[in-house]
Symmetry: C2
């Protein structure tokens, strides 16, 4: 075969009628009638498949009964305008079976997500998961594009870390098996090591040298919960900015969500249209609005008042909204979904419910924290201005029972106001793809009792 | 202050004479003579610093003795053409000290890399590490740019994995401390879990659905070696391509190295010029050549013959080059550095020294493997065409004592030729920055007995 190789995406994006091309892919369906067969071929490059017409002149047409759903194949043919639903088709001059697929588990359309979770090694071959993973790729690209445009440097913070600085507990230990775990050998790293729950403290050190940095890397929580919202392994996006305050990073978060959403809307039209048809949680109008509207901003104290008003009007919550307590997911969804009908940023949370590194406000009761909330999702972004004053951060670090001298050095030597946030990447992909279960945004999801392959 | 805030990079890149700006940063040096002080201010945004002139009219000039190396500060002033070495300077109307830096450890220029390794939380504030980490950022950006241009989708393969499919050993275990490690609780994931040494097997599953994918993520090896070439935690770039053979991915590797190098040369002129002046291992002519020259390609058998010829001409190696044995780093450096004076790809290695997933060649003795070798570095890229034939891969998997049924499914259902490689990202950064010790390419390096912060 001497015609140029092309992806289905390239053929469909800019078809030249009459051009001869070679396409490789997998057979989605075949329909054979009299002397004509119609093959729907997808190679993963795009949501759309290519219709291939095989007639009695096509080399290999005598083996057409072997072309079953799931086989891999090679087609050479000529691009033609189509008389069917699709705009173009490939009139095959030769078809070749590459890999057979007897008893292929994904024969039919419309398998349930539950069934596909048990076929996770194959599910990216379906329309749904092809769409989700291409949207996820676009979201990752848009993330890098956003920060690079804004002058941030990408930082690789360490994954193996000595400490649990979030104070969230639920750490995974990293050991060398059969020696360290049994206590018969010293620690590989010379001290106990854990999987990172955040890259923030390192990002602070980097921002106080390079100005603006972001991490985009896996983080880990050994949470023993089996929910549709939590993973034991997930990717976090964590920008950190020197000479910045709470207001600056609220703007950064709002801009990020807006611009990333706009880019995905632009780059994944076919994927989003497919998913919207099949998954009611995905609302393209809501995404359009998110990409065009400036985030509302309220304080935690105002949020509690709004929730209390709602209760007084008859709204029921499992947890009563009380000043001093964390906002529950039900509260967050209500604020974003019902009160603001879109993204809202809540700032200045009570000090007692937030980590040691957040900057104390002058009222003595609150810290310069911020969360960005979305309808249906709740918290997407959580961040703060960091405590840059040596005396105050020293006092908070003393509670940690850990050697934080390197972290205090950042305040000893040329300290500066700085601020940043963290965003759970899979939760953003959930919002952009309409997947209700976060496990359906991950190629090989990890959670308690879940390690399928 | 009402003048617009600008980064040093923005001021220097497109200065408008007479413009009033506000700049934040850290003081590198101060020189005071009579009524004039000259401050060298760097904010991490660029290799270059901004010269700030403080005279007796500048607000805050009376505190100028407090401005010591390492302090953070804010300057408002007017951009002026400079009479000194630099093209422009900032004539300050106001200077404000933000954070003092008494006893700052990085007072002098010219600290050794060894000393700076012990100040890893601060070293990104030096010219050397600022340059390295900005080059690293550019290299990461160029990596994503390359694969996105080429139609690859970014894949997040799992970090916690059930198996050691490289057969390399040296795995870290992931456990929940105090329960699982002591044997008193069941495994968190329901089975033993380890940190990934590669995302390849998952990338294969993804490529056989999406066509072309790449991972760019941390990987881990519990290698108990203390060398300048190895880390326990490092980032790998792993593309995987369906319907591709060994030749295709040799071309992909050559193109990748060429285009990424060209992009870094274009985007990091100041960083590279600084490093070349101070680190003789960095050769800009060698990088220019790498970015412009097509990689040579030889087989392993030819490589052994070339090495044997060298020995017969008097070249000494610690390990005699012998058909059937792995190429040692000394052999790789000799081939790239002395024989080819640049990058060279070696293909078709003996089957016995390569992992189970590599495709058997028809000679029965070799597999469709490839390594890309660089002068001074040795192996940068290692990859192969994968065994796509069900009977052959089944036989190889039987040696593994692991349930690989999901991996065999990829060959049962629509199997296709596919191929990919892995590239150690920090080693590439080493090559592009001239750092001799790989630990100097990582913000917080991890190795045996090394977990500084």
């Amino acid at each position: 075969m001497t015609a140029p190789r092309m992806s289905v995406k390239a053929v469909l994006a800019a078809p030249t009628m009459g051009q001869r091309v070679v396409v490789h892919g997998w057979l989605r369906t075949r329909r054979t009638a009299k002397n004509l067969s119609f093959l729907v071929v997808n190679d993963g490059s795009a949501q759309e498949s290519l219709q291939v017409v095989v007639d009695c002149h096509t080399q290999g047409h005598d083996q057409i009964e072997d072309f079953s759903t799931g086989v891999s194949l090679c087609v050479e043919g000529e691009i033609k305008a189509s008389r069917g639903q699709q705009q173009i088709e490939l009139l095959a001059t030769a078809v070749t079976l590459i890999g057979a697929a007897p008893n292929y588990p994904l024969q039919k359309k419309g398998h349930t997500l539950e069934f596909l979770r048990e076929q996770a090694h194959l599910r990216a071959r379906t329309n749904t998961f092809g769409a989700v993973f291409r949207i996820k790729d676009s979201t990752a690209r848009a993330t890098h594009d956003f920060f690079q445009r804004a002058g941030f440097y990408c930082l690789h913070a360490p994954i193996t870390t000595p400490s649990d600085c979030e104070g969230a507990g639920n750490l995974f230990a990293v050991t060398v098996p059969d020696t360290e775990a049994s206590g018969s050998a010293p620690h590989f790293f010379g001290r106990p090591a854990y999987l990172a729950v955040s890259g923030q403290l390192y990002a602070e050190a980097a921002a106080l040298a390079l100005g603006k940095v972001y991490t985009f890397a896996p983080t880990f929580r050994a949470e023993n919960s089996n929910t549709t919202r939590h993973l034991a392994e997930f990717w976090m996006i964590e920008p950190e900015v020197a000479f910045a305050d709470l207001n600056d990073i609220c703007t950064l978060a709002a801009d990020f969500v807006q611009q990333v959403t706009a880019q995905v809307l632009r780059d994944n039209v076919a994927e989003l249209e497919f998913l919207q048809k099949h998954y009611p949680a995905l609302s393209l109008p809501a995404l359009e609005k998110l990409s065009q509207t400036t985030c509302a901003r309220i304080t935690y104290t105002e949020a509690i008042a709004l929730l209390a008003q709602a209760v007084s009007r008859g709204q029921r919550f499992d947890h009563a909204p009380t000043w001093g307590a964390s906002l529950q997911t039900e509260h967050e969804k209500y604020l974003a979904g019902e009160v603001f009908s879109g993204a809202v940023i809540v700032t200045d949370y009570p000090k007692a419910i937030k980590p040691f590194y957040m900057r104390s406000n002058d009222d003595g009761k609150t810290v310069a924290a911020m969360d960005l909330l979305l309808p249906n999702i709740g918290e997407l972004v959580g961040g703060s201005q960091r405590e840059e004053r040596l005396d105050l951060i020293t006092a908070r670090c003393a509670e940690l029972h850990e050697d934080m001298s390197w972290y205090l050095d950042l305040r000893r030597f040329g300290t500066a106001p700085h601020a940043g946030w963290g965003l759970g990447f899979e939760r953003l992909v959930q919002y952009l793809s309409g997947m209700q279960n976060i496990r359906d945004t991950v190629f090989a999801p990890r959670a308690a009792q879940l390690l399928y392959f």
